[in-house]
């Protein structure tokens, strides 16, 4: 790991166990379909919180509600006591919640490096004239340095100049994580980060997520279908089915829950 | 640098929408070149024409003028087609001290652009009223009048002003004023408004295609009264549009093939021989533009041989000479006032008479 001397996120304090996110009665309808149905839960500081459930259960939609991409039909989300629902996505990001996308949404025509630089937008200040007059050199240098660090972090330091769209599927996922981290989030939401990675790589991903969580002092929400990874990685797991929360608890509990087995895991 | 061959510039619209008018001017100018050179050119020395396409816009006109002035080294310019272009390009010639004769610019203010700018095309204010008077002669019962004009066309809007003033001056009622665009094709709305106003005279200021369509649709939808067309309709280009329905449209003209002067009769005869039809006004005016230049050059040449002139001096001298002379052109005898405005005595009013769907003529009304 390079750049020991530049902490990417300057907050070193180890967090307590306070509640970071409170979802209350969050609901989203699409026409007659209730994709997310009256969902409430809490997420604690520093936790890795899994979200699982059958296809179409509403997991991604829930992420969209939480990050402002889709307005909820009703319900609220609060982040450290502040209401997040109703804010624009960029405001949510500025507050410190960042995500990756299930259907990868990189800036395909831009280089990996640019992708990561752009995401530092909310953490930088230079306005139009400062930029044009070259008065923001120090900030720019900082942005550049952070971007390289993050690329190194996901093992792409030597591919910084390649266009994001030319990366293979699995590599694009890694780049998305780096980009999400560049917003300096306090809460990171990962939508199927392991999709398209092989078993060995999934193992690596588990370790990686833990490491970033510790290093940047994050709270992580992760949607994933690969059960061993979820069980291994998460402190707690919530299960959605037909938009409703059918179980929340520690992985072992959830895995034994007959409702979960029936709806999701399937009988052996 | 001395002037070896005398080149006269012609800058008209050979492309773009405006080419419909420009191509008649090209024919007129080319005809002049052939005809006048055939009769000895400038006291025995043939002159040449240099054509530069102006397109339909201002930048095109400026470019054409610049090219004529510096590359083709012309002694004077006949052009451009549109008054709007003239406002852009004439100042170029003015500053370069090159005489310009507007062949078809009828808007107010053209000769006032500068000392070197004159025109052979009589301004609308002079021509248009004649048509109204003529219509009243044909039908003294006329009371209610509808006026229609192409609102995006510079010269049509100024022409309509004159028409509307004349209507008032003649004690007629202006029942409705309808506007359209030269690019319009469907005039049902305007026509029904006219019909509802129950007028007995309709006056149109527009260009050939829109004007023709307007006439056609007025007739098809049942308008029976008289129609007056402005300068833009003064072209046989209108015939294919309204075909038989063009019949009877009254048009005030600055030119008529029926004009009796010898100059015109020779012109018409030769023109007919070559193109199998009567010369249209725009061709005649372009011809007149070239002719005026040539005659002024002849006069200069008689005083002092042209090839002893410096080009710059020749241009200045030519301008003076143009303004000083009197010319027997197909338009009749014309001269210029000191600003460069044309002084033309005879104007004409004609009525369209269609032989068949395609062919017709402007019949001169006494």
């Amino acid at each position: 790991m390079t750049g020991e001397h530049v902490p990417v996120s300057p907050i070193p304090v180890r967090a307590g166990r306070s509640v970071v996110l409170e979802a209350r009665n969050m609901t989203r309808r699409f026409g007659g379909l209730v994709a997310v149905n009256d969902v409430s839960f809490d997420v604690h500081e520093g936790e890795i919180f899994g979200l699982i459930g059958p296809n179409g259960a509403g997991k991604t939609t829930l992420f969209n509600l939480m990050t402002g991409l889709t307005p909820p039909s009703s319900g609220t989300l609060t982040y450290r006591g502040q209401t997040v629902t109703g804010l624009q996505p960029n405001r949510v990001a500025a507050l410190g919640m960042s995500r990756t996308f299930q259907n990868i949404r990189l800036f395909r025509g831009l280089s990996a490096l640019e992708n990561v630089k752009i995401a530092q937008h909310t953490r930088t200040r230079a306005g139009l004239w400062q930029g044009v007059l070259g008065a923001a050199r120090a900030e720019e240098a900082q942005v550049e340095r952070r971007a390289w660090e993050l690329l190194d972090l996901v093992g792409m330091g030597d591919r910084a100049g390649e266009l994001a769209g030319n990366f293979s599927y699995g590599d694009q996922r890694r780049l998305e994580i780096a980009r999400a981290l560049a917003t300096e989030p306090r809460v990171l939401l990962l939508d199927e980060p392991a999709a398209g990675m092989n078993t060995a790589e999934k193992g690596g991903l588990t370790a990686f997520i833990r490491e970033v969580r510790d290093r940047f002092d994050l709270t992580v929400l992760v949607i994933e279908h690969h059960v061993p990874l979820v069980m291994n990685l998460c402190d707690r797991v919530a299960v959605l089915n037909f938009g409703q929360l059918i179980a929340v608890g520690n992985p072992a509990e959830v895995q034994r829950d007959p409702k979960v087995i029936e709806a999701y895991l399937g009988g052996e | 640098q001395k002037v070896d061959t005398v080149v006269i510039g012609v800058a008209v619209a050979q492309t773009s929408n405006t080419a419909l008018l420009g191509q008649e001017q090209v024919i007129g100018a080319k005809f002049a070149e052939k005809f006048l050179n055939g009769r000895g050119g400038i006291n025995g020395t043939p002159f040449k024409l240099a054509f530069q396409d102006t397109g339909g816009d201002e930048a095109g006109a400026i470019n054409a003028f610049q090219n004529l002035i510096t590359k083709d080294r012309v002694v004077g310019i006949v052009g451009p087609t549109l008054s709007q272009q003239a406002f852009a390009s004439d100042p170029i010639a003015e500053r370069a001290k090159v005489p310009v004769l507007g062949p078809s610019n009828t808007a107010k203010g053209i000769p006032q652009i500068g000392d070197f700018i004159s025109r052979v095309s009589a301004p609308v204010a002079v021509v248009a009223p004649n048509a109204v008077k003529q219509a009243l002669k044909l039908d003294p019962k006329i009371k209610e009048v509808a006026v229609l004009y192409a609102q995006n066309d510079a010269f049509s809007t100024s022409e309509t002003g004159t028409f509307q003033q004349t209507v008032k001056d003649q004690g007629l009622t202006l029942s409705t004023v309808q506007k359209f665009q030269t690019t319009d094709t469907d005039f049902t709305t305007q026509v029904t408004a006219v019909l509802n106003a129950k007028v007995d005279l309709v006056i149109i200021s527009g260009l050939a295609a829109d004007g023709g369509n307007l006439v056609k649709q007025l007739r098809q939808l049942g308008y029976k009264g008289l129609i007056i067309g402005g300068n833009g309709l003064n072209t046989s280009n209108m015939f294919p549009v309204c075909q038989k329905l063009c019949d009877g449209v009254i048009i005030a003209q600055a030119y008529s093939p029926a004009q009796g002067s010898a100059a015109n009769q020779v012109f018409v005869k030769e023109y007919r021989a070559q193109y199998k039809k009567d010369p249209p006004q725009f061709a005649a005016q372009a011809y007149a533009g070239v002719q005026v230049m040539v005659e002024a050059l002849k006069a200069l040449d008689r005083k002092k041989k042209l090839n002893t002139y410096d080009l710059d001096d020749l241009r200045v001298a030519l301008n003076k000479q143009i303004l000083a002379g009197k010319y027997n052109t197909p338009l009749g005898t014309i001269a210029f006032d000191k600003e460069g405005e044309v002084i033309q005595k005879e104007f004409y009013v004609a009525q369209i008479k269609m032989k068949d769907a395609k062919n017709g003529s402007f019949v001169y009304l006494k």
Partner: protein
Amino acid sequence: MALLEIENLSVNYGAIQAVRGLSLTVEEGEVVTLIGANGAGKTTTLRAVSRLLRPVAGTIRFAGRDITRVPADEAVRLGIAQSPEGRQVLARQSVQDNLELGAYTRRGSVRADLYEMYERFPRLGERRDQLAGTLSGGEQQMLAIARAMMSRPKLLLLDEPSLGLAPIIVREIFGIIRELNAQGVTILLVEQNARLAMNASHRTYVLEAGQLTFSGNSAELVNDERVLHAYLGG
């Protein structure tokens, strides 16, 4: 006779060589797995076979016929169908239209097949009129696979079929693979879930940086040290 024969295949993206001198065969009636790390060139290989990419060298033969230069739509008519990476469902068409378009090259009624798909993937049946673009990721994945099956291909190319699917559905997919294969459909499978894939296939090829590293019987390779270590997380 081999249904698919790839010889010396090389595919480039501009200056990037994604696949280099690859040779592999798939016998009629076989299930063959292609594994490899991210960026190894698996997708590129499949896209070359389905004729979406033009190889710079090598030949691709299908049922004895050289198809290296035929257009993609012709390949479908010959009997090759692909469930592509990234699903590529037609977002503005309904689920049903997507499926019917899957059967575009077939004549006659495809009703029975439609119902078969709805039976296999009840979720698609429930959503037959929903625009495919609004389906969840996993639902789209099911649609992509079902659509590929609709053409009744001789050779089915599956690019990471289990991607984004819940465990129950993954099991369903692998069931289908076995079933189809039993019906005589030949399958070339790219999968990250290597163990599952190898268990469901006859033979396996391992790709690294655009080149074949080793290949063999799936049953044997599954226990191979090198494979275990690199791809099975063992």
